[in-house]
């Protein structure tokens, strides 16, 4: 057990959880004892203390170091114990089982990669067994062993063991926890801990010791898209160093990067190291690093660096699951502090959607507040825009804590967002609403359709030829086996927008409607062509914002004055006081594709080919 010769041994964090007195500390103490991992005098010290306190010998005292813990025979706070097998090193985290100390259990379990969930065979499944199971699922710990302890108290009965197993399996499967193994043990007597037991000869599975080595360690999030939250910006000398920990992905010198939420782009100039400057030029998930940018602009803690593809979501409204540990309940209308990676900002509860009694998974009947030890689904509203990911995709940017006054009082994970709301989520006028999950994603639909959905937004003054080009573009895409939709602004005026005026306000509203409709289409996997005059650049920026800059491709159909006048309805431009009608169109400040038409009888097929040439590689 003490063979530690290999230089870089793997280390795994594993937590023991479960109801009070179901034997977590005893199990760990016995495991240390049976594997000869205790230091000299440890058992003697425990014997002495047990005698002093007038209590029988307890393995648990090996871990319960506080006087109060030993005198009262309960674990108050979590302990980390180092332990080794031939395969690797472990940190075993002993978590308290008292409801009162749930915050300490969560502190311990939050750093675990796997869990031993203890159940007393005699008492069976109790409140904290279920609650801890629920917390494990919220913390994203899916590698779980269920340990049925104190088998001696039920005469080592296989039947009773199977009953517990069946009942608990049903509960855990509702939480999407599928235990790796169930193991019957009598921890105090060391049965099925390091050695098998004759009393449990009907059990042919692994012992606890064997079980630990079964856990496969999660690989670092190196292969995921980059997430690098800025922790601080240093200017100790002439270098301006952006410091932080890479939470996912990799980064190297020369990479083009985006700073979120502002969307500013730059390149990585250098990766800074001390004491050897040239140590690393490639950094990846898990590392604490410092980099410099090619462009120097104002950066601050909390911004998240990503590559141009696969940026984090951003918004000020999002749906979460939360567990509350605060002395005071979590209520609506009060300002709290939200901490998500290095972002810290004010937030409040927008709506409470569901409150769950985590001891039985029943829905509570109240919606006004979340009490200590309750779990809930809520919608959070932050004062400023925050960057985040869905917890299922990115653990570290998908979870957060809530600070009430001076105290961290809640922890939560970001739930899946409907694709159509991912790019932005606005505040509805009623707080009795919540965004609903869908079961089919945009990605799945795109895969089925064999295409990537984009919005191809054709704009230009009346007469420029955009409608003719757009109609042919739709046909051409259709013939290429694409699933495509064409939204014509004029046609919309006969339908959804028949109520709108042709004033500037009306034009803005018309753009918003077209963009929102296009947003629905692309998030259902459908390529969408829009044609609209859209002469105000601000209006087009709104469209781009609604659709998202990654999915919005703007083509400006520019034409000579002569072409415009000839192609527009007779007399359309006659009332225009401005002699230069082309000035009516405000050009965009960001790069767009431009088509120039100088011939009244232009070949629209050629224009369609030009558009396709530029976009076919991304569809």
């Amino acid at each position: 057990m003490t063979e530690v010769a290999v230089k870089t041994r793997e280390k795994l964090n594993i937590v023991a959880v479960g109801h009070v007195d179901h034997g977590k500390s005893t199990l760990i103490g016995r495991l240390l004892f049976d594997t000869n991992s205790l230091q000299d005098g440890a058992i003697e010290k425990v014997k002495r203390i047990s005698e002093q306190n007038g209590k029988p010998f307890e393995y648990a005292y090996l871990l319960d170091a506080f006087e109060e813990e030993q005198k009262q025979g309960i674990t108050i706070d979590t302990t980390n114990i180092n332990f080794s097998t031939a395969k690797r090193d472990y940190i075993i985290i002993d978590a308290p089982g008292h409801k009162e100390f749930l915050k300490n259990m969560i502190s311990g379990a939050s750093s675990a990669e796997a869990a031993l969930l203890m159940i007393d065979a005699n008492e069976g499944i109790q409140e904290q067994s279920r609650r801890h199971g629920y917390i494990l699922s919220l913390l994203g710990i899916s590698k779980v062993f269920v340990i049925v302890n104190k088998m001696d108290l039920i005469d080592y009965s296989e039947q009773k063991y199977n009953d517990i197993r069946q009942e608990f399996n049903k509960f855990l499967s509702n939480l999407n926890i599928f235990p790796i193994e169930y193991i019957p043990v009598a921890a105090f007597y060391g049965e099925n801990i390091a050695k098998r037991s004759d009393n449990l000869s009907w059990y042919h599975g692994v012992t606890i010791l064997e079980a630990l080595d079964l856990v496969q360690k999660e690989p670092e999030a190196e292969n995921k898209p980059l997430r690098f939250p800025i922790q601080d910006v240093y200017k100790f000398d002439n270098r301006r160093i952006i410091a932080g920990k890479i939470e996912a992905g990799t980064l190297k010198v020369g990479d083009e990067i985006v700073i979120n939420p502002s969307g500013k782009k730059t390149k990585v100039k250098s990766i800074e190291n001390w004491p050897n400057f040239y140590d690393k030029n490639y950094v990846s998930a898990g590392m604490s690093v410092g980099i410099t940018f090619e462009d120097e602009f104002f950066n601050k803690r909390g911004e998240i660096i990503s590559h141009a593809e696969n940026k984090p979501q951003k918004g000020n409204l999002f749906n979460v699951n939360i567990f509350w540990m605060g002395k005071n309940p979590l209520v609506k209308g009060k300002t709290y502090k939200l901490k998500l990676t290095t972002q810290e900002l004010e937030c409040e509860v927008f709506s409470i959607n569901k409150v769950i009694d985590s001891s039985n998974l029943n829905e509570a009947s109240h919606f006004d507040c979340i009490n200590k030890n309750e779990v809930a689904e809520i919608t959070i509203k932050t004062k400023q825009v925050v960057c985040f990911d869905e917890f299922v995709d990115f653990q570290s940017t998908g979870r957060f804590v809530i600070v009430d006054g001076f105290d961290v009082s809640g922890g939560g994970i970001v739930l899946k967002t409907d694709d159509t709301l991912k790019n932005r989520m606005l505040e509805p006028l009623s707080k009795n609403l919540k965004p609903h999950p869908r079961l089919v994603t945009r990605q799945q639909k795109e895969k089925k359709l064999g295409q990537k959905a984009k919005v191809i937004w054709l704009t230009g003054l009346t007469g420029c030829g955009k409608n003719e080009i757009a109609a042919k573009l739709e046909k051409k895409l259709f013939e290429l086996d694409k699933t495509v939709c064409y939204l014509n602004s004029s046609n919309a005026r006969f339908g959804i927008s028949s109520d709108l005026e042709f004033s500037e306000t009306g034009v803005y509203e018309q753009t918003r409607r077209l963009a929102e409709i296009a947003n629905q289409f692309i998030n259902n996997g459908i390529i969408t062509v829009v044609s609209s005059i859209n002469r105000y650049k601000k209006a087009r920026e709104i469209a781009k914002d609604i659709i998202g800059s990654d999915d919005y491709i703007e083509f400006h159909i520019d034409a000579t004055e002569n072409v415009l006048k000839k192609r527009a309805l007779k007399g359309f431009y006659d009332n225009n006081e401005n002699n230069d009608i082309k000035q009516l169109y405000e050009k965009s400040e960001y790069p767009v594709y431009s088509l120039y038409i100088d011939n009244f009888e232009f070949n629209s097929n050629e224009k369609v080919d030009y558009i396709l040439e530029n976009i076919k590689h991304i569809l």
Partner: protein
Amino acid sequence: MDHLETIEAQSIYILREAYKHFGKLGMLWSIGKDSTVMLWLAQKAFFGQCPFPLIHVDTNYKIPQMIEFRDKLVKEQNLNLIVHQNKEALEEGMCHEKGRLLCCENLKTKPLQEVVKIYGFEGLILGVRRDEEGSRSKERIFSERDNESNWDYTDQPPELWDQFKTDFKKGNHIRIHPLLHWTEVDIWKYIQKENIPFVDLYFAKNGKRYRSLGCYPCTFPIDSEVTDIEGIIEELKNTKQTERSGRAQDQEDAYAMQKLRSKGYM
């Protein structure tokens, strides 16, 4: 990333969090192996600087080589060091013969409390590790102390997902423990890997070496012939003695460390 890289990255993250959140920040340097590693990690975190002062609580009973090493490193690396003593207690003849725990309280805990008050520290970085002893195994990475440096260990705040306690009542301070997750073997492996200078009292002379450093009346060397780091690592793999078994104050009472630390001891 291997294990040493992982714990190094975690410690650097913690040090940077401390530096970001606390304007008045200091780092306790006991001249021992752990806090010397911590100084190295700080220099790594801040690209060669240590942007906060080091604090040495000098009991006047430290092993002389420790003070030599301290002064040498301060000079070579131009470090900002605050040395503080409880002069009054020393003048009154405080020493371990008056009671080890009383001596620790007067010559270590008390001057530490004073330093916090004199300099108005909001954050104190300490090199304690969970595997040292029981009360440290229950510590948080960011651990609050009240205005008298008391630690309410029965009601510690939750600490999860690298989100630490950075909000607290004025007058209180936060103890920051960047090495909490390191083991004794980790420290030595890291010293070896990074070639970090340390005081050579840890190597054997005349069949004895120090495993843990402190005041000479209360710190006893262990039997050992080891004269290199490789040897120390090998020795630790085979020992069943606790690291602090040579520290007399720990043995005074079953709960000695808990009692000392709840009053502000390091």
